[in-house]
């Protein structure tokens, strides 16, 4: 603590605080314009000046001066008043006072400050500057004539988002915010809009639609990726006006901030559909639900309870997914269910579980008193202990405390933007080192201390090389490790030279990576869905789990594994037990059911053991599962498919009954983000005729005579959380496993597959991956804002490859694999190495998975046309 006096009052403040922060804590108002708590001090406006003794004879900016023992600070005096008034006049000298039409009116910090300081008039004259508005850019409108040159937007874009897309041009009085050349070419995250104190940056979605004070604000979890952001949803007259401010940090990504109009998409389903005479026809809810229940009963009576196969949803809430598995386990009495995470995230969990063991929690007891809504009934006590894979998963807030981060097989920002924000924060510490190992140049290569470019699909071998180098250096694991000898044996034949040859990464770089990891006090490993979607994704995860067992320091905050759970509830759908082999909280089940890929294979073969019916909670299998042809063939053989979705997806088009569901804030519920945070989604919009997933499942169950919990999401959560000691201590915005859990970690080094060959002989390798502006197919519906930035699928290609094929930007290319053929326009991208082409997975047309077999990598031939 530091003792000082502020305005004659003796106070104590925290060490390392600025005078401004201290004043804010103490409730002493100091005017400010450029300071923002989400940023480091900028010190541009000087409106926050205070008098400080001892110190120089001139006033100092409170936002950039640190508290010191014995200091005497004066925050208000006639001298300071004069300075502030003069500064405000200078700020206002060329400010277009357009308050009546400016979107910021009512929440403008300049309005408030002009009022607080009491600027009577601006008695200064100056050359009028040209307004230079930018109406052209997408989503963001710029009014440089309203800019107070505080620099906040530039700092958030550079230091938090990492895009560096805007900066000042010219200088002094003529300083103007610019993107270099109109229009803006950036990540379109909109973070600069919300941090601007004035109306110089405007959200085009919000412009002229509402005044700031007319909206109802609801804080909610973002329903797009697994990042777990929370934001304010602003609603007027039952309509969304905008998404505002990602909490204290302000940053959000573009899909979070601009993606909400999917709620209003005209192609959303409004009524249930039933297949009649081969066509999907509109029906009433009762007709549709009665039909589903009757058919389900008929099928189970004829073919047994396991004849219905369920696929849960990484989009739907925990509550809906929990009810869904209850419907199968308690109602039908079968474990025949799974979720689409099978192709990505579940592989990570399996790899981690093989090394660190199953989830085990001890020492937590049910609290008999009633916990608040959406809060776990298990308090975390001193005896609480956790074992197994969930306890090596990291929290994003801790990532900046890691000192070495290895990124493997992940273009971080499109995969999970908050991981990228955390890496930028980590970089602010000098000791921090970043290692990036990808098959192409990505955003974070710019920030990497060691950037390795490996051949597509050889990431696992590269990890093996790093492990080999570590073993040669005889590192001693910080975690109790068994199986060391067998493991060493499995790598005996591997040489670094061989690894270097096959991966394309130099031996020296592999050794340097091993060195950095061996010396790290808190190493972390990030890997993406991109790495997990390879056919041997589970082996990839296994290799990284082994690596973490060797170098990890799980006692140090931030030292953890960070596999990307791509959608808002990819992690939750697994944890609440929509899995054939585990119930809620990863409790093993007696008679495991079949996994999704097996079921699709059985269906395709027309096997007698194949299910007679599929019940799909969202999840467009036809679009996202690899091997489109097989999936299509399989689905077409199912006698009865029920799909619950907001849109008529490719899969829904093959269904017999389609039930339209509520999305976004039309329903209440919770999600588990990629890092285990419980996101709470309150209901802020009316459902307009569609129903929340929970209600639909419940109605089908009760028509079939099953009793499963009801009474709304809060009640279902209560029932669910009782089955989840793993969630002990969990509450909205809190993260599991809780930090105060004792960890009892040990692991076994498990040998993994070293064969990284990619079958086929076609000349190019296609990678099907993520686009920054999209999340699944959810964001591909008009009028979604993110869709305006990336409206279609384009095939990224190295310029030299394109030239060799006689293709230029925008040309149509014919892409052929052993599985199929598509036509797609190309875009030149020098970040891709020669030989690698990239196609985003989100769009229905062209269907990327028409080319894939069992992996997101496939060999292709490309020609003009």
């Amino acid at each position: 603590m530091v003792n000082l006096t502020i305005d004659g009052r003796a106070v104590q403040t925290k060490k390392g605080q600025t005078i401004l922060e201290a004043c804010d804590d103490l409730g002493i108002f100091v005017p400010r314009l450029c300071y923002h708590p989400a940023l480091k001090p900028i010190g541009a406006c000087r409106i926050c000046v205070v008098e400080v003794k001892p110190g120089p004879p001139r006033p100092l900016p409170a936002c950039a001066t640190y508290v010191a023992e014995g200091q005497e600070v004066v925050t208000a005096s006639p001298k300071l008043d004069v300075i502030r008034l003069e500064l405000m006049k200078l700020v206002l000298i060329n400010h277009a006072l357009e308050c009546p039409v400016c979107d910021k009116g009512g929440e403008c910090e300049l309005q408030d400050l002009t009022h607080a300081i009491g600027v009577p008039e601006v008695d200064l004259a100056a050359v009028k500057l040209p307004p230079n508005q930018d109406y052209e850019s997408q989503l963001v409108e710029r009014h440089p004539d309203r800019c107070v040159t505080c620099g906040r937007c530039i700092h958030i874009c550079r230091d938090r988002v990492g895009a560096m897309a805007i900066n000042f041009t010219l200088r002094g009085y003529f300083t103007e915010l610019t993107s270099g050349a109109v229009p803006l070419d950036c990540e379109f995250c909109g973070s600069c809009i919300d941090i601007c104190p004035v109306g110089a940056l405007i959200n085009k979605q919000f412009k002229y639609r509402s005044r700031a004070w007319e909206v109802t604000k609801t804080e909610m979890a973002c329903p797009f990726c697994g990042g777990g952001c929370t934001y304010e949803l602003h609603v007027k007259d039952g309509k969304v006006m905008r998404v505002f401010n990602g909490g204290d940090k302000v940053v959000l990504c573009g899909r979070g901030r601009f993606g909400w109009p999917v709620v209003e998409a005209p192609d959303r389903l409004k009524t249930p559909l039933i297949r009649q005479d081969g066509q999907l026809q509109e029906a009433t809810w009762d007709e549709a639900l009665d039909l589903v229940a009757a058919k389900f009963r008929q099928i189970t009576e004829a073919a047994g309870l396991g004849a219905i196969y369920g696929v849960g949803s990484p989009r739907a809430t925990n509550e809906a997914n929990y009810l869904f598995q209850k419907f199968f386990r308690q109602g039908l009495g079968t474990n025949n269910l799974d979720n689409p995470g099978r192709y990505t995230y579940i592989r990570a969990l399996q790899g981690l579980a093989a090394v660190f063991g199953p989830a085990q929690v001890s020492g937590v007891e049910l609290d008999p008193s009633r916990p608040p809504a959406f809060t776990s009934p298990y308090p975390v006590t001193d005896d609480a202990k956790g074992k197994g894979f969930p306890f090596v998963l990291g929290k994003i807030d801790d990532l900046p405390k890691a000192d070495v981060v290895l990124v493997v097989g992940a273009d971080v920002t499109p995969e999970l933007p908050p991981l990228g924000w955390a890496l930028l924060e980590a970089r602010e510490r000098d000791a921090f080192k970043l290692i990036v190992a990808n098959n192409r140049r990505t955003k974070f290569d710019r920030y990497a201390d060691l950037s390795m470019r490996c051949q597509p699909g050889t990431e696992r071998l590269l990890v093996a090389g790093i492990i080999k180098a570590l073993l040669a250096a005889e590192v001693t694991p910080a975690i109790r490790a068994s199986g060391v000898e067998e493991f060493k044996e499995s790598l005996k034949k591997l040489t670094l030279k061989d690894v270097a040859k096959k991966t394309g990464v130099e031996e020296a770089a592999i050794k340097a990576a091993a060195d950095l990891l061996a010396q790290a006090l808190a190493p972390a490993i990030i890997f993406g869905a991109e790495l997990l979607a390879q056919d041997k994704g589970q082996e990839n995860a296994l290799a990284l789990a082994d690596l973490f067992l060797l170098v990890g320091k799980p006692g140090a905050p931030g030292s953890a594994l960070y596999p990307v759970a791509e959608k808002n509830n990819t992690r939750g759908v697994c944890e609440v037990g929509v899995l054939p082999d585990f119930g809620p909280g990863f409790a093993p089940v007696d008679k495991p059911g079949a996994a999704l890929p097996e079921v699709l294979a059985l269906l395709e073969k027309g096997d007698a053991a194949a299910p007679q019916s599929l019940y799909l909670l969202g999840g467009d299998l036809l679009r996202f599962a690899p091997n489109h042809k097989q999936v299509e063939k399989a689905l077409k053989k199912v006698p009865f498919i029920v799909v619950q979705d907001a849109f008529l997806t490719e899969t829904a088009k093959l269904a017999h009954v389609v039930l339209p569901v509520a999305v976004h804030a039309e329903q209440e519920g919770t999600f588990i983000s990629s890092d285990g945070t419980l996101g709470y989604l309150p209901r802020a919009l009316s459902a307009n005729g569609v129903k929340p997933d929970c209600l639909i499942i419940h109605e089908i169950a009760s028509r079939m005579g099953y009793s499963i919990p009801t009474g709304g999401p809060a009640n279902i959560f209560k029932d669910l959380a009782k089955a989840m000691p793993l969630w002990a201590g969990l509450a909205p915005k809190g993260s599991e496993p809780r930090a105060d859990f004792g960890k009892d970690l040990s692991g076994q080094l498990v040998p993994f597959d070293l064969d990284v060959s990619l079958p086929g002989r076609r000349p190019l390798t296609l990678l099907v991956g993520k686009s920054l502006q999209h999340s699944g197919s959810f964001t591909t519906h008009h009028p979604c804002g993110a869709l305006t930035v990336t409206p279609r699928a384009e095939l990224g290609m190295n310029p030299d490859d394109a030239q060799g094929l006689g293709l230029t930007e925008g040309d149509a290319a014919k892409v052929t694999s052993s599985q199929g053929e598509i036509s797609v326009p190309i875009t030149l991208n020098p970040d891709l190495p020669p030989g690698l082409v990239f196609l985003p997975e989100h769009f229905a047309d062209p269907a990327a998975n028409a080319l894939t077999l069992n992996s997101n990598l496939v060999r292709v031939t490309i020609s003009k046309g």
């Binding site: 000042f168 010219l170 200088r171």
Partner: protein, 152 residues
Amino acid sequence: MKKSQKTIESILAGYPRHPQNLIGLLQDVQAEYNYISPEHLALICDHVGAPLTQAWSVATFYKSFSLEPRGEHEIKVCLGTTCHLKGGNRLVETCERDLGVARGQTTEDLRFTLDTVNCLGSCALAPVVMVDEDYLGGANIRSLKKRLSKLE
């Protein structure tokens, strides 16, 4: 104006790929081509790994960089305090009329660029006009016109 001899590639090749070389490259390109074209700006950014906006910001911050083609001859009329008092303004107006170009601009035929500056550091000679590398001290309308006509 010097004829451009060095290609952009050879200029780039002279600098390691590091953001700290941004200003050096901008200076070299400015010296060689008399201005920095959007294409060259993009190439420089690619080379040093700096975002385009940063290069733009630097290039517009310093007066010695120009993002637009400059004329063959550069005329800088001083409007610093001393020259201003000694009638610098009339000299600018003369140039504007004679060359048919506004201050800060370049003639369409790319022959002349007219600029004003805030003190050339030669106040004793005020009013001062700089024509290319030469100082014209104690300038008046007549001597200025004469000097300009020599250029044509």
